[in-house]
Amino acid sequence: MSDPVRMQLLGQIGAADHVEELRSLRDQVHEQMEALLPTRPVEQFNEQLNEVHDAVIQRSVILAEAEMARLGMGSPPVPYAYILFGSGGRKEQTLSSDQDSGVVYEDPVSDSAEVKQYFEELCKLIVFHLKKVGYPPCEGNVLSSNPEWCLSLSEWGSKLDRWFKEPAWEAVRYLLIIADGRCVYGEERLLDALKDLFFTDMLNHPIIIQRMLDNTMRHKVLLGIFGQLLKEQYGVDAGSLDIKYGAYIPMVNSIRLMSIQTGIRETATLERIRMLVKAGKMSVADAALYDQAFRLFLRLRLMTKEQRANGLYANNGKLSSRKLTKEMTDELKSSLRLGKKLQRAVFKQTMGRLK
């Protein structure tokens, strides 16, 4: 997609009047972007793709607000931030990522029940719209339409406190999700305030890092002891590589954990790596290697098989090894070795800190 075409599309998305129009614009984007993948640097591709996703989501929120007004529910009673978690939060959405979202709104001065209800209705609409545009809802129900993830700032505060005090595995998972949160629409300062709470709590509960480490290291890198790639053994994906959970996620998790410990608020993995260097937690040489490995994972993840089910763009994160050239396989292996090295480094660093 040349820049003028892209700007035009972004303009059209920003001016779309209804969800169907957004959907057809998204379909157009897909056709054009798919063809573009091999032709440009993955970082640039990723950035442009996520710009489009952001634009679509922003427009969906605006359309939902308008519809609320039409339905006689008025306009937002207090300022709020619409937050993306997961790959959306990290600005690493593929052509087929699902919705992980939440809302934080300013503490209402009066009638909090009414305010709550407004946002519940609004979020239901937004999630519904986004489904129509082809974003499958998160299977773990981390969605703004889930009342647990649509809260006022002070409610979020007490929720975070609870999670930090009782770090059961689910709470730890949620805290890691919060770390990837990014404001896509609305008042950025509300999310900033939420992140302030998060990082203050982090300082007060150093033990949580241990639990985060356990959670973060759960996904194993796809590399056997002979340095061979571990492929899927059975099923229709036999012979495929689980790029998402065997390459991409382990690296995302490692970098995230280092960033949390360093107080870095950036959410994109590549930005986090840059910030880690700045903070002196990673050498420039290591960072360059990790950077390169992560770009490869991003590219391969963008190459994974897409499935379209019930009008939703879905993807199981698996890549047929037949799609890989010899050079790419070699590059993948050495990148996976780096991923393992990173995991070990994070483990050592974290355990060392705790001692």
Binding site: K220, L222, G224, F226, Q228, L230, Y234, G235, V236, A238
Partner: protein
Amino acid sequence: MVKKMMLALGALTILFPAMAFAEDPSGATLNMGLNSLWIMVSFVLVLLMQGGFILLETGSTRMKNAGHVAGKTIFTAGLATLIYWAVGYGISFGGDSALNALFGWGNFFFDPSVAAGEGENYPSTVFFLFQLAFAIVSLSIAWGGFAERAKLSSYVVFTIFFSAIIYPTVAHWIWGGGWLAEDGAQDFAGSTVVHLTGALAAFAATVLLKPRIGKFNKDGSANEILGHNQVFTALSVLLLWVGWFGFNAGSTVAIGDGFFGYVAFNTMLGAGAGGVAALLISWAVSGKADITTMLNGTLAGLVAITASCAYVAPWAAVVIGLVAGVLVFYSVKFFEKIKVDDPIYALSVHGAAGIWGTLANGIFATQALAEKVGIGQGGIIDTGSWKQLWVQFESVVVVGAFVLAVSFLVLGIMKLIMGFRVTEEQEIIGLDLSEHGAYGYPEQMKKAGQNIHS
């Protein structure tokens, strides 16, 4: 208490001296008695291996076939007993025929003498029972290839041919004084006779039946059809493992100088090595320490050491087991690759490991032990001679060709005349219902059925 008893016994001995000094059994009689007892115990152990096969086959298959899979093992054991008594034993051990090299003739509807004769090491009754138990083990191995899709009637017909002709002929060749025995083929307890024979019958069956519905995808990739109870499968391995001491150590058919203990010792080492090697190789290659592979490896270690347990040094038993464990892992992959559906892994566990175990004699057998057993000679490592390996190779190839040919013939004709596989509907409903009219797990299956229909 003990004191009083001793006192009473002492008093009685004085009163009835004849009781204490009743005529001593001769050394020969004692020897015969001990041998018989040992063979009888071994027979019971080997028969109990059927319990292992029931759990192995049921655990490795799906719930809807459980009753069928388990029940048919008992039924065919009974049927095989009758056939082997009437015909099979006579072919294996019935004495001289015009073509003695190929099969024996005589002793049909075996009518043994009630006790051991003068100079015999054991009565023929216990020998018959022991041999019968081996035939049934081989038959149960063959069922691995039938699992989850063969008609009940085909089990009946194949039991008849297998226990009357196929198994007895091979047993005669190697154990009954047939032509491979004359060549000095070493197969102490039946890596070839029992395991390879069963596995090749299973191979013929599974090829003729074609894979189970849902095993392979259109693009040729395999699906994993998980068994319904891994605890059964693990227990089955324990049961088989224990039974194997009757199988191998019992094959000395004598107490003698305690050589059976050495055979048992090697058997234990082989089994342990098989399981360890299989777990390690599955972890190293696929990144997961796979339980099924480990269980298969333990069995493969046992199968492999079966031929060589009396012929090799302990270190060699460990090596034989280790190789068997690795072999079984790759063998399973190989059969999946050539799209042969092997639900119970019989082809890999009993076939591949059976071949390896038989050949291993030609490599690891020591001259001293070969002389002790009195069959063949030492292998390459001990003697530097390739002769034994050649004989072992010959026995594998000849037995393999024979079993494959006859099994394909018998099963092929069955397939033509009476049909071999159940219908698609029956296979999907499950053989419990289609062949027997009742589920092995009524509560669970009815629940599952309701979900399907609602």
